[in-house]
């Protein structure tokens, strides 16, 4: 059996579904690029440096280098905050004074429980030392990773199952089908696996880059190939 044997209505539904998948995939790449680069528009392919920042650096430093970069007065301020954290995030000394002033000046207008600014984020306040300390851990915390991993793995596996099942019933060679199905699931698994452990093994950020790219590429390719195959007349 192949997807070419389906009736027109089923083919139409599958094609529309795949168009949604293609659009969603590209949209998510755009979103990730915007978040990591701090830019406001365009397709910004994530760089190794940006991925390193996100998965190996303290969250507050990663944000200052990425999504919040536009709020940072001076690049040297990011180093000051990072050095303060690397030196143990002590609540005393010049490093603390400098870092605290930067955080209050560049971050706390919005990151405050009492902020009423348009972009206020009262749920993530930087009003006290203790509140800031919750964002100084390198890489993702176990709690955040668990949350991110299970949401993404449930979500990705659900639509991957649909795409790969459809692809399995195309008329392409089995070797192509095997390769792309394994690439999509394998890429997703190793990508998320690397989120967890790159803060312990920094070189794993390269695996995030490659496996993330493999997963996205295979999803896009399978979707396009299914669309090209489903409307072909049966041989």
């Amino acid at each position: 059996m192949s997807i070419q044997q389906l009736n027109t209505q089923a083919k139409t539904a599958i094609s529309l579904f795949l168009l949604f998948v293609l659009t969603a995939t590209v949209s998510s790449v755009i979103l990730l690029g915007l978040e990591l680069s701090g830019k406001k528009d365009g397709l910004n392919i994530p760089t190794i440096t940006q991925i390193q920042n996100k998965y190996t650096m303290p969250a507050i430093v990663s944000a200052m280098k990425g999504s919040m970069y536009k709020e940072v007065t001076d690049d040297a301020d990011i180093d000051t905050v990072h050095n303060w954290i690397k030196e143990g995030s002590k609540k005393e000394g010049k490093l603390y004074d400098d870092a605290w002033k930067i955080i209050q000046t560049d971050c706390a207008n919005c990151h405050s429980k009492s902020s009423k600014m348009s972009k206020a984020i009262p749920s993530m306040p930087f009003d006290t030392y203790e509140q800031v300390m919750t964002h100084t851990e390198a890489g993702y915390s176990w709690s955040k990773m668990s949350k991110q991993a299970h949401i993404h793995m449930f979500g990705i596996s659900t639509f991957l199952l649909l795409v790969t099942l459809l692809f399995a019933y195309t008329t392409y060679k089995d070797s192509i089908k095997n390769a792309l199905i394994l690439a999509s699931f394998g890429g997703a698994f190793l990508d998320i696996f690397s989120w967890w452990f790159s803060k312990f093994v920094p070189s794993l950020v390269y695996l995030i880059f490659v496996m993330g790219g493999l997963m996205v590429s295979s999803i896009l390719l399978m979707s396009v190939l299914i669309l090209a195959n489903i409307w072909k007349k049966e041989a």
């Binding site: 007065t73 207008n109 972009k119």
Partner: protein, 348 residues
């Protein structure tokens, strides 16, 4: 799902380095050979390119605020050998010029009309305003715009000082200043065709300056003064030209207040004189029509007052860019709509 999109292309080059931010908007000032009139319909404006800037952020949420929370500003600029001209048009559906007037009550007393918010700032009986921030030498302005000098209070504290205001303007380092052009429809704009030329420095001591970092440039005369008698129970003056200036009293028109009024009558709450000196550098023509303010600003490219270097942006090198930000106040003392980042002005 977004995590699964870490990279679009497996074979992409490994890119390193950080991104540099340019100004969010660019305004070109076009050279004209003859001075431009202050008439917004002057044909010279057809030569100028426009830039559209969304004003979509506010610093706080006043209780009972009914003004705009977003607007769109359209800017153009021209310059000649001596002056720069900037035309700004922005959306504001209501004309607001009745700034804290006196109203006669049924029992014969007078009441200064106010309806302040939770921070003791007025948003009902006030005036429309607009402001420019021009960077002079403040680090980070090009990237952050006006936000570089914006410091919001947290739990009633600002920079370690107890303060009821939701936020204050001051620069972050000694010696850093910003030129502020503060157009106030009643106190400077419609009354005297001017803008209040102010500046911002790093002062955070309310004893040194009640508005913290924000101060007026040096002035030789003029300005506004509350119209209030010594007992603060009634106006001190009224206008001999009341039909012409219903919501302000010009200095030259003021006469002692004589109460021949009936309940419900209003007397302006402000006496206004034309600014002179450094504070009066900016001539401004303003008109509100069909839900839009149209303003024409004119200032010398270079000012020559004793403190011009620290208080005024100097357009002395027409080959370099100048960075600024704008905001609009809809009938509000301090709440304003502003934009992210900065606008870059270049001369062509």
């Amino acid at each position: 799902m977004k995590k699964m999109t870490l990279s679009l292309l497996v074979a992409s080059t490994v890119l390193l380095g950080t991104s540099a931010f340019a100004a969010d908007w660019k305004l070109e000032s076009t050279k004209v050979s003859t001075p431009v009139s202050m008439d917004a319909s002057d044909g010279a404006w057809a030569k100028a390119k426009e830039v559209v800037v969304p004003l979509n952020e506010t610093p706080y949420k006043p209780d009972g605020y009914k003004g705009i929370t977003k607007s769109t500003a359209v800017l153009k600029s021209l310059y000649d050998d001596k002056n720069i001209y900037i035309k700004v048009q922005y959306d504001d559906p209501t004309l607001s010029t009745n700034r804290e007037p006196w109203m006669k009550q049924a029992d014969g007393s007078w009441k200064k009309m106010k309806n302040v918010d939770q921070t003791n700032h007025e948003n009902t009986y006030y005036e429309d305003k607009m402001a420019f921030f021009w960077n002079i030498n403040t680090k980070g302005f090009e990237k952050k715009g006006c936000a570089i000098a914006c410091h919001m209070a947290k739990d009633g504290m600002n920079n370690g000082i107890s303060d009821t205001s939701p936020g204050r303007k001051y620069t972050n380092n000694a010696g850093e200043t910003i030129d502020m052009w503060h157009w106030k429809s009643v106190r400077t704009g419609l009354s005297t065709d001017m803008t209040d030329d102010q500046f911002v420095n790093n002062n955070t001591d309310p004893k040194v300056g009640k508005d913290w970092g924000r101060s007026g440039d040096e002035k030789l005369g003029g300005g506004d003064k509350a119209n209030m008698n010594a007992d603060k129970t009634a106006p001190e003056f009224m206008s001999k030209n009341a039909d012409k200036t219903k919501t302000w009293i010009l200095e030259e028109d003021k006469v002692p207040f004589v109460d021949t009024f009936k309940a419900g009558d209003m007397i302006p709450g402000i006496v206004v004189g034309k600014l002179s000196g450094s504070r009066g550098d900016i001539a401004t023509q303003a008109a509100w029509k069909d839900g839009k303010w149209t303003l024409i600003f004119k200032r010398a490219l270079v000012t020559t007052h004793p403190k011009s270097a620290e208080q005024d942006v100097q357009f002395s090198d027409l080959k370099k860019p100048y960075f600024f930000g704008i905001s609009a106040f809809d009938n509000s003392a301090i709440n304003h709509v502003f934009h992210e980042g900065s606008i870059e002005l270049t001369f062509k």
